[in-house]
């Protein structure tokens, strides 16, 4: 063994200390960005829920007043009810459509890749363009759908006037925009089901729908749950499509929690009430994400020990 001089020892000790720091320096930018842009503002938002504040007015502590206001506001309950209905309808429709299309495509068509490309195309459409698109198609007087309905002697879709028409239209838009996501996840899952399982089931006499019911469905259930959870979390915060299309109207029929928050915050400049609503949204999101967080904790933190 070589005898090291004290200077060299010091140098090596220093570089060893540096080497230990390397991973933390590498993750510092990401963590810093998340802290500054996401975590600190979120804490600030939580704090704002306990103050009354607006433009030109100094923030004053009001305790739980904002929450009292929100929970006494019939529009909040209307928005909450709409959100619950909206999320459930939208998510299950998306899962159903995504799964149906995935199973259909799994039978393999000629030009398969072209069809898949077309199916995921709506993913490239922004909320603004989707609204523009469907406003064009559903134009009350001259649009194609209403013209066709007129020809068939049916009632026109008047989504700017009739509440449930408006609600159905925003559901349609959201489903149209997000089915590519559920399709992609479920298609990957359906394609991953082992062919041997199908063959074994066929030997046992299973046919057609039975194969789907007893082989495909159980095999892709984990993927369905993943898609379900992600879509619940993201559908719950739906804002852009609805704000641009209806701003919550007519008669509050498409008022969602996000719209209620936005209206209080950026139309009435009542930041306290908006922040109280935001806190409600965070709590619901946390509940919806709890399974994800628990899985994450189990696989990353607990099992790592």
């Amino acid at each position: 063994m070589v005898v090291l001089g004290p200077a060299r020892e010091r140098r090596e000790a220093r570089s060893a200390r540096w080497a230990r720091l390397v991973p933390y320096l590498l993750i510092a930018p990401v963590q810093l960005l998340l802290l500054l842009v996401l975590v600190f503002p979120s804490i600030a938002a939580a704090g704002m829920a306990f103050f009354r504040s607006s433009f030109g007015i100094d923030a004053t502590w009001v305790g739980l007043d904002n929450f009292r206001y929100v929970f006494d506001d019939y529009r909040f309950w209307g928005a909450l009810r709409n959100t619950v209905v909206f999320v459930n309808v939208v998510v299950y429709l998306e899962i159903f459509l995504g799964l149906a299309i995935a199973v259909l495509l799994a039978t393999q068509f000629r030009l398969q890749r072209l069809w898949i490309s077309i199916i995921i195309a709506p993913y490239a459409v922004s909320a603004v363009i989707a609204v523009l698109m469907w406003k064009f198609i559903l134009e009350p007087d001259t649009g194609f759908v209403n013209y066709l309905l007129g020809l068939l002697g049916m009632e026109r879709i008047l989504w700017t006037v009739i509440p449930w028409h408006a609600f159905a239209v925003v559901v349609l838009l959201e489903v149209w925009l997000n089915t590519p996501f559920t399709f992609l996840i479920l298609y990957a899952a359906v394609m991953g089901v082992s062919q041997e399982l199908y063959e074994a089931a066929r030997i046992d006499g299973a046919r057609g729908f039975q194969l789907f019911r007893f082989i495909t469905l159980p095999s892709v259930m984990p993927a369905i749950l993943v898609a379900l959870m992600f879509r619940y979390i993201f559908a719950f915060r739906t804002f852009e499509v609805v704000w641009i299309m209806t701003q919550g109207g007519p008669l509050g029929s498409t008022d969602l929690l996000s719209i209620y928050l936005f209206r209080n915050g950026f139309r009435y400049y009542d930041f306290g009430v908006a922040a109280a609503t935001a806190l409600v949204m965070v709590v619901v999101t946390a509940i919806l994400a709890s399974y994800y967080l628990w899985t994450l904790y189990r696989t990353m933190v607990r099992d790592a020990r």
Binding site: P23, L38, V39, L105, F136, A227
Partner: protein, 277 residues
């Protein structure tokens, strides 16, 4: 027996036709109609055969001269968000792939947990902060915001790709005297270049489409295309649909091409992002 096969096959193709119609018809209708003369836009049934004209595009840029600027802004913000996301995610992905400690584990958990946070919540505190810092109507604000919501996913996707690069390569590069950054640049990145694409596609798509932050935090200098199109949509009266359809086409087609080009990476990123945290 053969008859039944043929029936089944016909049914399959019929269902596929319905699915394709549902996905493609609205997009096709908008793009095609933007090239039709005004009086033929609402012609029923819509026809695919006509002499295309570009007058709606001319009108669009004449009536809304700022539309060109918003397109440039969208491009700047999208590229900026993509670049920043990669810049901060790649080093972190390497660290999470190659090192382990209590602190790293918890920081990764935190990183993936905050991914679920609703963006609308932070608009409230950011509104006054951005004004106080005099950052309203700048590209920087949008770049920072867009990156923040996608660095977790990007880091995790990138980590999955770096995990595939054999560690022996790290060791031999270190023996050759490479430091970590050189090792990343010369050894790791060339071998995980698909991961770079897979981890950046989602933020690119998001940045090009995003409306809420752009609507709130920009007014003119950094206004993006979705924000101004929503403005046009609000001001459209009667049947002046031509320029609007042209604007929609200009905003939509580049991203559509991009999404179709990176299709396989989307699938890869989604699988990693949804099943591994």
């Amino acid at each position: 027996m053969l008859g039944r096969r043929a029936h089944e096959n016909a049914l399959r193709w019929l269902l596929l036709a319905v699915v394709i119609f549902w996905s493609a018809a609205p997009i096709t209708l908008v793009v095609v109609s933007s090239f039709k003369p005004s009086h033929r836009i609402f012609e029923f049934p819509p026809t695919l055969i006509f002499t295309p004209i570009v007058s709606h595009y001319v009108t669009l840029f004449r009536q809304w001269p700022e539309f060109a600027t918003t397109l440039v802004n969208s491009a700047i913000v999208t590229l900026g968000a993509g670049a920043l996301t990669l810049l901060v995610s790649i080093p972190a992905a390497y660290a999470y792939s190659r090192y382990s400690s209590r602190l790293l584990t918890w920081s990764a958990f935190g990183m993936l947990a905050v991914r679920m946070f609703p963006p609308i919540v932070i608009t409230l505190p950011l509104y006054p902060i951005i004004r106080a810092l005099n950052l309203q109507d700048t590209h920087l604000v949008l770049i920072l915001l867009y990156s923040t919501f996608f660095v977790s996913l990007a880091t995790w996707v990138m980590k999955a790709f770096i995990d595939e690069v054999p560690r022996e390569l790290d060791e031999s590069a270190k023996l050759d005297g490479c430091n970590v950054l050189q090792l990343l640049a010369w050894i790791i990145l060339p071998l995980s270049r698909h991961g770079i694409v897979a981890s950046v596609v989602f933020v690119v798509v998001y940045a090009w489409k995003e409306f809420l932050f752009a609507f709130l935090f920009t007014t003119s200098a950094a206004r993006t295309a979705p924000a101004i199109i929503s403005e046009m949509l609000g001001s459209v009266t009667g049947v002046a649909w031509g320029p609007l359809l042209a604007a929609a086409t200009v905003q939509l087609v580049p991203l559509l091409v991009f999404v179709l080009l990176v299709q396989q990476f989307l699938v890869k990123g989604l699988t990693i992002g949804s099943t591994k945290g």
